[in-house]
């Protein structure tokens, strides 16, 4: 599948097909996670009719991979009507949920509709830790029950463990739990700023020692020697490369129709209540600027030793001040991974306290 996927991604990038779109159906939530970057009081969601129209537009534009997330998507009473329409339009559907509201009926319907994957947040195998993060009593118990129901229906479940100070040591327990439940496992030691710009959440990020422990865990990173190897010299092709798929072949749509390059890149490029999705995708100035950026255009990062291997997130850089600037979270990650400071660290530009990181490591257990 990797070769087909790579070819598909390359073609989408070359032809500017919005292959993947992440839609937040709601920002309302039944949990109050300490690290959440969203406001939950959001009365202006796209209606079912608007969602159906948007799905039609996205299918016509070539969107194939559709992620429906939130907030908590099961708070929308019309969720299954949306899923049924998405199925009719041929999307590869992935859901992100805390699963608290998934019972037997919901699990069976998800399976019937051919949902490809359900990603569920679990912060610890210990209820005291998980429930303290979600601020919802018995939430771990309800979530695990739902995972078991989904697995009984053969639904592909991914357990996602966001790591932060309160659960820094939790990943091994959650990884073991995922194995027992027949679920895939992924961790994300990334706490991002609030979408309103508040950066105080970053204080929750795990410290360097805990991040290093993750980077030295073979079941998460594969070959530790290769993963932590110092970066080599780069060619012109790297400097001519694009940072990531955001705005090139992927996009994000908020519950009220704002279109961003990515959920972590809150550059409003248009709103689907005012323009057709494809017109925003093709013609907005915001997408145009994002697409024009090449590694060689980055004043600090282009001269960095890590330019060829860094997972620099342009969205986090944007939230830090400039989409052309460094993302301190990624500088930190490159440093902890290899022991070699980034150009931004050496220049003293754009660096922040060494506490926030961006990395997504997936491992099948």
């Amino acid at each position: 599948m990797a070769n087909v996927m790579e070819a598909l991604s390359r073609r989408a990038m070359d032809r500017r097909i919005p292959l993947s779109v992440h839609v937040d159906l709601t920002w309302r939530c039944n949990e109050r996670c300490v690290h959440c970057y969203l406001d939950h009081d959001d009365p202006d969601e796209l209606s079912l009719a608007e969602m159906r129209d948007l799905l039609d537009q996205m299918a016509e534009a070539g969107v194939f991979f559709l992620t429906l997330s939130g907030g908590e998507i099961f708070l929308r009473k019309d969720l299954f009507a949306i899923l049924e329409h998405a199925r009719l339009r041929g999307f590869d559907i992935r859901l992100k949920t805390n699963a608290v509201l998934i019972g037997e009926k919901e699990a069976a319907r998800i399976a019937e509709l051919g949902v490809h994957q359900v990603q569920i947040s679990v912060y610890s195998h210990l209820p005291a830790i998980h429930d303290a993060i979600t601020k919802a009593p018995c939430s771990l118990e309800k979530t695990l029950r739902a995972i078991a129901l989904l697995r009984a229906c053969s639904v592909h479940v991914v357990i996602a463990c966001v790591l932060m100070k309160p659960n820094a040591a939790a990943f091994e327990g959650v990884q073991k739990l995922a194995g027992e439940l027949g679920a895939e496992f992924t961790i994300d030691p990334t706490i991002t700023p609030h979408l309103n710009g508040d950066r105080s959440l970053l204080a929750l990020n795990i410290d360097r020692d805990d991040l290093r422990k993750i980077f030295e865990t073979e079941s998460l990173v594969g070959s530790v020697a290769a993963f932590t190897a110092p970066p080599g010299p780069v060619g012109e092709d790297v400097l001519d490369g694009t940072p990531c798929s955001a705005g090139h072949s992927s996009s994000y749509i908020s519950p009220h129709g704002d279109v961003y390059p990515c959920v972590q890149f809150p550059l409003t490029c248009g709103n689907v209540r005012q323009q057709r999705f494809i017109d925003i995708w093709r013609d907005s100035a915001g997408f145009g600027e994002v697409r024009a950026i090449r590694a060689r255009d980055l004043p600090v990062c282009s001269s960095c030793d890590h330019v060829g291997t860094c997972s620099r997130c342009p969205g986090l850089a944007f939230m830090q001040g400039s989409m052309y600037g460094p993302s301190s979270a990624d500088c930190e990650k490159s440093f902890v991974r290899t022991g070699i400071p980034s150009a931004a660290m050496l220049q003293g530009t754009g660096t922040r306290p060494a506490s926030h990181h961006l990395v997504q490591i997936a491992g099948v257990v």
Partner: protein
């Protein structure tokens, strides 16, 4: 099913698959059960799109492949049979022995 029978069966796309047809006439199909991704070329896509459960594979080839693509009819039928069996093995195409009356 024996190879010579495949052309007389009624191929039908499996339900609840993710699929997208791109401008070049190619289709991408994802089987969510086993996360298998398929990329069909133009002729395979023509067969896939015509697989409505009420038309035999032979008829699909005669109607949608031979007149459109520059191919030998016997070779086209043979290739189509192999293709249909392959997709059936991956559970993204059903090979029905009788037309599906439920299809509207």
């Amino acid at each position: 099913m024996e190879p010579h029978h495949v052309t007389e069966c009624y191929p039908k796309r499996a339900p609840n698959l993710a699929a997208r047809v791109f401008d070049e006439g190619e289709v991408i199909i994802m089987n969510p059960v086993n996360s298998t991704l398929f990329n069909l070329n133009e002729t395979a896509t023509a067969i896939w799109l015509a697989a409505d459960g009420r038309t035999t594979l032979r008829r699909i080839v005669e109607r949608d492949i031979v007149p459109v693509f520059d191919v030998d009819p016997d070779a086209a039928l043979r290739d189509a049979g192999e293709f249909a069996r392959s997709l059936a093995e991956h559970s993204i195409l059903h090979l029905l022995s009788a037309p599906d009356e439920k299809v509207t």
